[in-house]
Amino acid sequence: MPCDAAAVAAAIRAAAAVITTHRDELVRLDQAIGDADHGENLERGFGFVVSSLDGEVPDNPGAVLKLVATTLISKVGGAAGPLYGTAFLRAATALGDAPVLTPESVAAALRAAVGGVVARGKAEVGDKTMVDALTPAADAAEQTAAVAGELAEVLRAAADAAEAGAESTVPLIARKGRASYLGERSVGHLDPGARSSALLLRSFADSAAGA
C-alpha cells in the first residue's frame, strides 16, 4: 500500500496515541532534570494536531507534516513546541508536494528535520537533547535507504538508532536546554526529548510496518 497523505495522517494519529500512553513517563523524565512538563506539552500539542486532522486531511504527505508543524508551533510552547515544530516543518519542505513517501524521501525528510532542530536549538550530539536521538536516526535512515529499499525498514532502522541514541544520553552532562542548569546533576538521567523522539520514530516505524 503506498504511503500517501491518508497513511501519514493515520501514522500521526497513532503517534499521538503513543504520546498519550507515555505522557506520565515523559513527565517523570522531565521532572528529574527539567520542569516536569514535556509529557504534558506533547500530549496537549498532539491533541491539537489530531483536532486539526479531524478538520482537514491535506492532500499530500508534506502538507500533512506542515499542518503538524504549524499546530505544534502555535499550540505547544516550551522548547519542544518550536523544536518539533521546526523538525516537522523542515521535513514537510523536504517532501515537497510528492503524493507518496519513498524510502529516500523519508530519509531526506528526517535529515532535514534534524537540521531544523540543530538550526534552532544549536545543540550538538552529546549535549543530551533530542538531537542525540534524531541524528543517529537520520544516519541510519540514510544508510538503510541506500541499501535496502523498504520504507518500513528505513523507519525501523531510524527507530532502533533513536532508541539507542536516547539511551546514550543517560551518562551525559546536559549542555543545552533546561537540564543544563543542573550541570553534573543531570548525569544518570534519560533526556525526555530524546525519549519522545525515539517514541515518535518507533510509532512511525510501526505504522509503516502495519500499512
Binding site: 512538563d37 510552547g77 522548547a79 513546541g81 533546561r178 550541570g183
Partner: protein, 333 residues
C-alpha cells in the same frame, strides 16, 4: 494533590477568568490565544512592552500589566513558555505604532517562541525588538550551556522599561535601557520545598527535612546543589555572596534590593531575611536606595526565596520611582 483547582488541564484559563473578574477597567483578558493586556491598549504613539512566560510564577507577568509597566503579558501553560501565536495576538492588541519591545527570560523555550513571533511580526512590518534577561548567577555562563536563566531581575526590568515607555521614550531608548538593567542585575534563589505542578500532581522534587536546594530556578527544576539546611544568616549568605562577587557590586554602589518569596515562604520570614541582607550590604558600604519585598516571581507554592540586586543610577532610579498601576505593583496612581 492539595490544590484549589478544578480540571488541571484548565487551570490557566480558569485563573485568567478570575484575574479578569478581579481587575475590570485595568486589564483586558482574551482567551485562545491567552493574552492579558492593559484595558486602554493600544496607547497611540507609545512603545508597547510585552512579556510572557509559563504560568505558575504569578504575579509575574500578568500581575505587571497596566499603566507604567507591561502593555501585555502572554501566559503559557504552567511552567511552559507561551507560543508565538500568543505573542502575535498580544502585539496586535497593544501595538501603538511606536514599536514593540519583547521582554524575554533566558530559557530555551521562551527564547525560541518569542524569536519565532518576532520573526513573524517583523515580516509583517512591525518594528519589534527582543531583550533577553539572564540574571541568575547560579548558572555559569558558558558557551556550553543554555546560559544563565532569567529570574528575579525580570521584575525591575519590566518596571523600569515600562515606566520609560509610558513616559514616551522611543524604542531605541527602551531597548538601551533594558540593556542597562540587564547588565546591572544579578539574582540567586533557593528552595526549602518543591512546588507541585497541577498536571503532575506531586512535588517536582523531594528534599529531606534537613536539606535545601541552592541555586534554584522558578520551574521546580532542582537547583545547582543540594545543601544542608542553614539558618537565615546562612541562607542569605549563600545567595548574597555569589551575587556580590559576580557583577561585582562594590563599596559605594547604589542598589535596589529585591527580596522575593518563591511563593510559600511567609512574609514574616521574608522580612527577616531582608533585614539580614540589608545589614550585610551596609557592612560593605553598598547603599540600598530602593527595596522590594514580597512574592513577585514565584514558583507556585514553593517555599524559598531569591535575592536580586540592581545597581542603580539616576536614570534607573527615576524610572523605578515613576508611577505604576498594575495588580501587583502600584504607586503614584
Amino acid at each position: 494533590m492539595k490544590k484549589i483547582v478544578n480540571d488541571p488541564a484548565d487551570v490557566v484559563a480558569d485563573a485568567l477568568r478570575g484575574l479578569a473578574a478581579a481587575h475590570p477597567g485595568l486589564l483586558r483578558v482574551t482567551e485562545d490565544p491567552a493574552v492579558v493586556a492593559r484595558a486602554d491598549a493600544p496607547v497611540r504613539g507609545k512603545v508597547a512592552v510585552v512579556s510572557g512566560g509559563g504560568s505558575g510564577h504569578e504575579p509575574l507577568h500578568t500581575g505587571f500589566v497596566g499603566p507604567g509597566m507591561l502593555d501585555a503579558a502572554c501566559p503559557g501553560a504552567v511552567f511552559t513558555s507561551p507560543t508565538p501565536d500568543q505573542v502575535q495576538a498580544a502585539v496586535s492588541q497593544v501595538d501603538g505604532g511606536a514599536g514593540i519591545l519583547l521582554v524575554v527570560k533566558n530559557y530555551t523555550g521562551d527564547v525560541l517562541n518569542f524569536e519565532t513571533a518576532a520573526e513573524l511580526l517583523a515580516a509583517d512590518g512591525v518594528d519589534v525588538r527582543t531583550v533577553v534577561i539572564d540574571d541568575d548567577v547560579a548558572v555559569q555562563d558558558s558557551l556550553y550551556t543554555a546560559g544563565r536563566r532569567g529570574v528575579g531581575g525580570t521584575v525591575p526590568l519590566e518596571k523600569i522599561v515600562g515606566a520609560a515607555a509610558e513616559a514616551g521614550a522611543d524604542l531605541d531608548t527602551c531597548e538601551r535601557l533594558a540593556g542597562t538593567v540587564i547588565a546591572n542585575t544579578r539574582s540567586m534563589g533557593m528552595a526549602l520545598t518543591a512546588p507541585t505542578v497541577p498536571h503532575v500532581g506531586e512535588p517536582s522534587f523531594t528534599l529531606a527535612g534537613d536539606e535545601m536546594e541552592v541555586g534554584i530556578g522558578i520551574h521546580g527544576e532542582p537547583g545547582r546543589r543540594r545543601a544542608a539546611l542553614a539558618d537565615a544568616n546562612g541562607i542569605v549568605t549563600a545567595l548574597l555572596d555569589p551575587i556580590l562577587s559576580d557583577l561585582p557590586f562594590t563599596e559605594g554602589d547604589r542598589v535596589l534590593l529585591f527580596t522575593n518569596s518563591m511563593g510559600g515562604t511567609p512574609l514574616l520570614e521574608l522580612y527577616l531575611a531582608h533585614g539580614i541582607a540589608e545589614r550585610r550590604l551596609a557592612e560593605r558600604g553598598i547603599a540600598v536606595e530602593r527595596r522590594l519585598v514580597g512574592p513577585f516571581i514565584t514558583s507556585l507554592e514553593m517555599q524559598g526565596m531569591s535575592l536580586t540586586m540592581l545597581r542603580l543610577d539616576d536614570e534607573l532610579l527615576r524610572w523605578w520611582d515613576a508611577p505604576v498601576h498594575t495588580p501587583a505593583l502600584r504607586w503614584g496612581l
